[in-house]
Amino acid sequence: MRYEAPETLDAAVSLLVRAGGATKVLAGGTDLLVQMKAGTQEPDLIVDIKRIPEMRQITAEKGGFRIGAAVPSAELGEHKALVAAWPGVVEAARLIGSTQVQGRATIVGNLCNASPAADSVPAMMAADAVARIVGPNGTREVPVGEIATAPGKTTLAKGELVASVFLPARPAHAGDAYLRFIPRTEMDIAVVSCGISLALDGGKVASARVALGAVAARALLVEEAAKAILGSSLDEAALDRLAAACSAAAKPIDDKRGTKAFRIQVAGVLARRAAGIALKRAQAK
């Protein structure tokens, strides 16, 4: 195995393009090193992107924020303006692993690892975040929901990497939230999760995005769930519709972390609770 730590994005892409065997991009490494230890990944080349300056930056852009691919979750939590704008996304990123893991893990790594249970992904999908992909043929912008296709599988082509994620400007009277269910208080992978972003107009939900994690082969954007609360003031009936839509959209499996029935049921519970938090945040703005 070879280890390279290029200092420019071009150099990184060039390494990825020229590489012969199995190649992995190293950002935080909190998934990759575990997979290497287990022998499920045996890369011939690792390209560490942490020495590329723009990968380490959070930049204000068009009222929103661009987050470099190598920014660890802990830094998201320390960025006051980002936390104020997208508390749900930051909370989701801050739920990934321990304090130690927070010092390394990145939301782009979380996205590209393509686990259906990735915490930051439903929150980013709810926030309508866009991934910037850089590769041999230039740059393309793709909604984060279109990166993962199945566990461990992405739409990235050879030589491509996600360089950053863009979180758009937060509309007025809007709020987001992310909740996941885990058996312990920390250190677990989400058994089921829900990210919600909504904007109010005159006390009614004017727009909403709802995404679920760990209920299918990849995180799901649930349009029916968003529709279920549009125009409502998130009254009990609207919350019932939201929960029902989320449970209906969930297509989970039984596994060591939870049962199918549990995930379907709790998807609705988390949606109700997350909607409540997002609503309070929207009302506060």
């Binding site: 208080t185 019932d240 049962t259 549990f262 109700r272």
Partner: protein, 754 residues
């Protein structure tokens, strides 16, 4: 040695204080050397190839390609270990599979190589031809006729007439007295139910690790993290066919054991590789290997029935316990059956136990082995009975509690014991009066553990500066060096800091049983007291010689030899340091020794009270308060006693809520890591309140009882009873994982939607 004085009159100078531990500085600075921290010149890396199948015939093993790889220095398989027919055969077969792989992770071959990378490659080059066989991992399934049979020579013991057909049931055992049928007829209320517990792992943070350096003639050394290095020495020597005297084993600092390091796994393999390669070999298990191939505890399936009179006296109690202990006989079902009803004063009691094998790793001891599962079943029924007859759960237990003179359900009649005092302490504690909110519940449970004594040998050397070196042979897994120093200092009348206790290697001290059964503070402590008194006798003799008076005219008081009787006051008392300074002129070194088989370990009882809150929309349980009252007999170092109480309770909470071995339909372990084998993390627990009850054990001069294990016995039931109190339904299976709890709530229409 009996209790020195009536306990009320005994006052202690050193014992009962809370000094810093002697190994503490090394452990807070990173200097302490644990199993994996050793190295040696020319060190090779050892790795083990393990079966990917739950049950398979090993048709052949081809090691030729691995041996040919550059950097590979030795390969061993079962062919390198002579087969045997004695009591060590199961250990041998567990260490290295012979004709069959009996569980996923069963060792089938091992390599020693120049680097970890070469070792990894070499394992891939070993070709094992398996014939996969049907497997069974559930205890009830394994007992059914037609289940895949692991051992065609296993005929159930304890059954008359002896079966002629092989099965997975290794043993049937029975304990009790009286007439349970007659007792149930006297009952006003009878409750019975069936219970299940899942297998858990001790979860010590330090994986098994050892470094063997054995010469071709069999002489050598072994460094390892173990609860019993004498056991390791004897076992390795026998499995390798070398004399016990040739192998010197040093116990490293041990990063947790809880019973899981009371046997051998990698040590004989490292020795065999080292002997074959002629170089030192280190083997360190990965966490995945620890889960798959060390010794988790049994899973259990149990039926319990208890009858009570109208006024709350138990008239009869019976239970059937079925424990699977992995791929070999030896589940702790007998101990479970003995402990099940030990908390209660019963006229009619009967427990039947079945020891069952299935395709899982061979179980090893885990803190009060066998007791927590049985207590879960019995104490759940006790809780339901208390509710049914309208008695406070503590009052109900007090009405039936075993006390001095009670004939225990497993045979012996109890001497002075502290169960009643632990229950009273719980009742008097502020936690028991704390107000409970919505979705919150309180659970009570009691538990029992025998406590062991066992073979013990210590040596106490008086140094020329008046300090004392104490060598014990029981690895220190929770602060026992501090306790030993406290007891030696108490006897000698010197300061705690003057006594330095070490864990001696196997060449420096006589045989010691493993650190288990909560035996160390009792047995090694008792041996320490004996050795100190032996040294005192010799110190007095030296003073007598100095003064020219008879030896029996000298007494030892407050660290000094004093002339007594008609010589009293004739000479200035001599301190230990003064005598020590001149031993060269008075007859040579002074040392005290003790080697014995410690008996009369007093049993331990604990009562726990836990408050929980259950989220009715997700089934998630949060522990709000936790209280432990346990009888320590006499707490030598109270802080470490509290630590033992708290640690056992935390492990029990894990067992109750989230820890479990999860097997797939393929017989493979699904969660062989700390990510999905969910031990409690720091944010999962509240502070854990403790009350140390002291009912002296008459079998020890200070009254000491073991404290390490009883604390894991009550938590499963205490938590389950609290959950039951919170949600209004009883869950007869742990762990009480959220999916299990939510499914039960939903079925009962008690779940919430948000």
């Amino acid at each position: 040695m009996p209790l020195d004085n009536p306990p009320a009159k005994r006052s202690f100078k050193t014992v009962g204080t809370r000094p810093l531990r002697p190994d503490g500085l090394d452990k807070v600075t990173g200097r302490a050397r644990f199993g994996a921290d050793a190295t040696a010149p020319g060190l090779l890396v050892g790795r083990i190839l393990r079966s990917p199948h739950a049950h398979a015939k090993i048709k052949s093993i081809d090691i030729s390609k691995a041996l040919a790889l550059q950097g590979v220095k030795a390969v061993v398989t079962s062919a390198d270990f002579a087969d045997r027919t004695d009591g060590l055969r199961d250990v041998l077969v567990n260490v290295m599979a012979r004709d069959k792989a009996l569980y996923e992770g069963h060792a089938v071959a091992a390599v020693a190589a120049s680097t970890a990378e070469v070792a990894r490659k070499a394992l891939k080059l070993i070709k094992v031809d398996y014939e996969v066989l049907p497997h069974v991992t559930d205890v009830d399934e394994a007992m059914k006729p037609g289940a895949p049979v692991l051992h065609d020579d296993m005929f159930t013991k304890g059954v008359e007439p002896a079966p002629t057909k092989a099965s997975n049931i290794a043993l049937r055992c029975e304990f009790g007295h009286g007439d349970v049928e007659a007792g149930f007829k006297q009952a006003a209320v009878i409750l019975e139910d069936s219970f299940k517990t899942e297998a858990t792992h001790q979860g010590y943070i330090e994986p098994h690790a050892c470094l063997a350096n054995i010469a071709a003639d069999g002489q050598g050394e072994l460094w390892c993290c173990t609860q019993g290095h004498f056991m390791v020495r004897d076992t390795c020597a026998q499995l390798l066919g070398i004399e016990v005297s040739k192998l010197r084993v040093t116990a490293s600092e041990i990063g947790g054991g809880f019973g899981g390091k009371t046997t051998v796994f990698i040590e004989p393999v490292a020795c065999a590789l080292s002997k074959k390669a002629g170089r030192p070999v280190k083997i360190v298990m990965t966490r995945d290997e620890v889960f798959k191939a060390s010794g988790p505890t049994s899973s259990a399936s149990m039926d319990v029935k208890i009858g009570v009179s109208k006024d709350g006296r138990i008239t009869a109690a019976s239970a059937t316990l079925r424990y699977q202990g992995g791929a070999f006989a030896g589940s702790p079902v007998e101990m479970g059956a003995m402990c099940a009803f030990a908390c209660y004063d019963l006229e009619n009691v009967k427990v039947v136990g079945y020891d069952v094998v299935c395709n899982r790793p061979k179980q090893a001891a885990y803190r009060a082995p066998g007791a927590p599962m049985a207590a879960f079943a019995v104490e759940s029924i006790m809780d339901s009975l208390a509710k049914k007859i309208g008695l406070d759960p503590i009052d109900f237990r007090l009405k039936n509690a075993a006390k001095e003179g009670t004939k225990s359900s497993y045979g012996p009649t109890f001497g002075p014991i502290g169960l009643v005092e632990t229950l009273q302490a719980c009742k008097a504690h502020k936690n028991y009066a704390a107000k409970l909110g919505k979705n919150q519940g309180r659970g009570v449970s009691s538990g029992f553990w025998f406590n062991f004594g066992g073979q013990t040998c210590v040596s106490l050397n008086v140094n020329i500066d008046g300090t004392v070196g104490l060598s014990v042979g029981t690895p220190d897994i929770g602060g026992s060096r501090a306790s030993m120093s406290l007891m030696a200092a108490e006897e000698l009348g010197i300061a705690y800091e003057q006594v330095k206790t070490i864990i001696a290697d196997t060449a420096s001290l006589g045989y010691n049983d493993v650190t288990d059964g909560s035996r160390v503070t009792f047995a090694s402590g008792l041996a320490t007291i004996h050795a100190a008194r032996d040294a005192i006798k010799k110190l007095c003799a030296r003073a007598a010689k100095t003064w020219g008076i008879p030896e029996d005219a000298v007494v030892w008081e407050a660290g000094h030899a004093k002339p007594a009787g008609k010589n009293a006051g004739e000479f200035e008392p001599l301190s230990l340091a003064e005598i020590a300074a001149t031993v060269g002129n008075t007859g040579g070194p002074v040392a005290g020794h003790c080697e014995f088989n410690a008996e009369n370990a007093g049993p331990a009882f604990a009562s726990h009270v836990v408050d929980v809150e259950v989220d009715p929309a997700t089934g998630r349980t949060t522990v709000l308060r936790y209280l432990i009252a346990q009888d320590a007999g006499k707490a030598i170092h109270p802080t470490y006693v509290e630590g033992q109480f708290q640690g056992g309770a935390a492990q029990g909470v894990g067992w109750a809520l989230n820890e479990e071995y999860i097997y797939g339909a393929d017989g493979k372990l699904q969660n062989a890591g700390f990510l999905d084998y969910r031990v409690p993390v720091c944010s999962d627990l509240p502070m854990i309140d403790t009350v140390i009850v002291e009912v002296p054990n008459p079998g020890h001069p200070y009254g000491v009882r073991g404290v390490g294990e009883a604390s894991i016995v009550p938590p499963l039931a205490a938590v389950a009873n609290a959950v039951s109190d919170a949600v209004g339904i009883r869950l007869p299976q742990v762990p009480l994982s959220p999916p299990r709890v939510l499914a039960a709530l939903t079925k009962d229409g008690r779940n919430a939607k948000s």
